[in-house]
């Protein structure tokens, strides 16, 4: 571990200099994103026929597949962020202050990708204008799909407000070290700022954190999103109150994994070993272990109640699920990650950041696979299986798979741009690490 003392210079460095790796990653991400836009334009011209989604039953297909699975996955990743940051403020978890803003930004990047998937999945994006926005006053009263859009909007604007308010402190104090060509942006972001506001803004943010920490886990990923599926009584794989907690565990595991990856990449890129310390990564790894354990536990609940003397429709679904090699892969990688986390908890010398990084990637791959399977297998095994003999089985088309690469590239681009605009580590975190103790949680405990 580095013995360097953290300073404000560390956090403005990404805005003051640009290394070679930045251009390379930017170039690759741009190419991949452009490639995806090319593929998407094919879908926009020819319609969803270019996917392997098809009419349910009669065409031997499923109407929801990778797009919806990836949507859930991105919303899940989006969770980590702001919840982690809110926990820092509400519960005084100062240890994680250095990753708080990274986590908030991950929420914004990932939630944007989730929203983009809604647009992609609609086939014709202008349906967003007609079917979602214009019809909203009518549809919100009965459609879980519109509830979903509503809550995601609330979550997004709460996160943006949270970031917009907390960044005022940093911009005001670091103004001289920030790029001058962005002066109009900084001027707007700190409109009406005075040092006297700090205490009040901190309290405003505390209330926002309180709202987020209830809304995001309990009402969004553990509420409205699972209700998109669990409220449909004809799909045994989707139905049931267990979907809420199950979705939440997926959100929390993939979110923590996302924060670990991001923190490790940035600490290497900007030599932030003394800010994003091994101690933080170790702590996040333990949280990843806890949430992975809950994920596996809820899977076990579903498998046992599905295969042992269950109603016939549930049994057919559960047997199909556990026999699917992709499901075995999803559970297998999460179990391997869990084994490592358990081992490093028992014997600390087993811990290494590379292993934690690998565990995070495994968890992300596992949760994505499980969620995509959940979506289309749920449709393939309905209660009333009148299309049983219609041939066909869903597997994502290259364009659908391309959307995953494209959205990951877009999210990467988002981070590369934001690195040049605002400090991605809060100034409060530096003050805290230096023992200057302006931690936001203290006055609020």
């Amino acid at each position: 571990m580095s013995s360097k003392t953290p300073s404000a210079d560390d956090i403005v460095r990404p805005m003051q200099s640009t290394q070679r790796w930045y251009y390379i990653v930017f170039g690759i991400a741009s190419l991949l994103a452009l490639g995806w836009f090319g593929l998407w334009s094919i879908q926009l011209q020819r319609g969803l026929a270019v996917t392997n989604l098809a009419d349910w039953g009669s065409a031997g297909g499923v109407t929801w597949g990778l797009y919806i699975g990836a949507f859930i996955w991105w919303v899940g990743i989006a969770h980590g962020g702001i919840i982690l940051s809110a926990a820092v403020r509400l519960f005084g978890m100062k240890r994680y202050l250095p990753v708080a803003r990274l986590a908030e930004l991950l929420t914004i990047g990932a939630l944007s990708m989730a929203g983009f998937y809604i647009m992609i999945h609609l086939g014709r994006p202008d349906r967003m204008a007609w079917s979602v926005i214009q019809a909203y006053p009518v549809t919100v009263h009965q459609s879980p799909l519109v509830w979903d859009v509503t809550v995601i909007t609330m979550y997004m604007v709460m996160t943006l407000t949270y970031l917009g308010l907390t960044v005022r402190y940093d911009i005001n104090r670091l103004r001289d070290d920030l790029p001058s060509y962005l002066e109009p942006v900084y001027k707007m972001a700190t409109l009406g700022y005075s040092e006297k506001e700090d205490e009040v803004i901190e309290r405003i943010v505390w209330w926002l954190a309180l709202g987020v920490i209830v809304m995001a886990p309990l009402l969004l990923h553990g509420g409205v999103i699972p209700w998109l599926f669990a409220l449909l009584p004809s799909m045994p794989g989707w139905q049931g109150a267990i979907q809420g907690p199950q979705f939440l565990t997926i959100a929390l595991t993939s979110a923590i994994a996302g924060v670990i990856i991001l923190a490790l990449v940035l600490r290497r890129a900007y030599d932030w070993y003394h800010i994003l310390t091994d101690d933080i990564i170790r702590g996040l790894t333990l949280w990843l272990g806890l949430f992975s354990l809950l994920f596996i536990w809820l899977q076990l609940q579903q498998v046992i109640t599905g295969v042992y003397a269950a109603p016939l429709d549930q049994r057919a679904f559960a047997h199909a699920k556990i026999a699917n090699p992709y499901y075995q892969f999803a559970i297998g990688v999460v179990l391997i990650a869990l084994a490592y986390i358990f081992a490093q908890a028992v014997k600390p010398h087993v811990f290494s950041v590379r292993r934690s990084l690998a565990a995070s990637f495994m968890v992300l791959a596992g949760t994505l696979t499980e969620k995509v399977l959940f979506v289309f297998e749920g449709l393939e095994y309905p209660t009333f299986d009148m299309y049983y003999n219609v041939p066909g089985h869903y597997f994502p088309s290259p364009i659908e798979i391309g959307s995953l690469v494209g959205t990951i590239a877009l999210c990467t681009l988002f981070f590369l741009v934001i690195l040049k605009v605002i400090p991605v580590v809060e100034l409060h975190a530096i003050e805290e690490l230096r023992g200057e103790g302006h931690a936001p949680a203290e006055g609020d405990d």
Binding site: I133, S143, G164, V212
Partner: protein, 76 residues
């Protein structure tokens, strides 16, 4: 005589979204204006942030998706 059924008027989404799911955000906004320390000006600023983000997000999506619809008209 037609029997009055409250669920025909008060649909699930009406109370789920505006009654239950909205609670955390109502609480936060009430906290801004009624909690301590407070400054109505700063609370109003936070509310402006919130509303501006909602409006800019959805107006942006509305315009963007209509533009995409014009560039890629439906196949005949």
């Amino acid at each position: 005589m037609v029997e009055f059924d409250v669920w025909n008027v008060l649909y699930p989404g009406t109370w789920v979204i505006f009654g239950v799911i909205g609670l955390p955000i109502y609480t936060a906004i009430l906290g801004w204006f009624l909690g301590k320390p407070r400054t109505p000006k700063k609370a109003m600023m936070a509310l402006t942030y919130l509303v501006s983000f909602i409006v800019s997000m959805w107006v942006g999506v509305y315009i963007l998706t209509i533009l995409i619809g014009i560039i890629f008209p439906p196949a005949m």
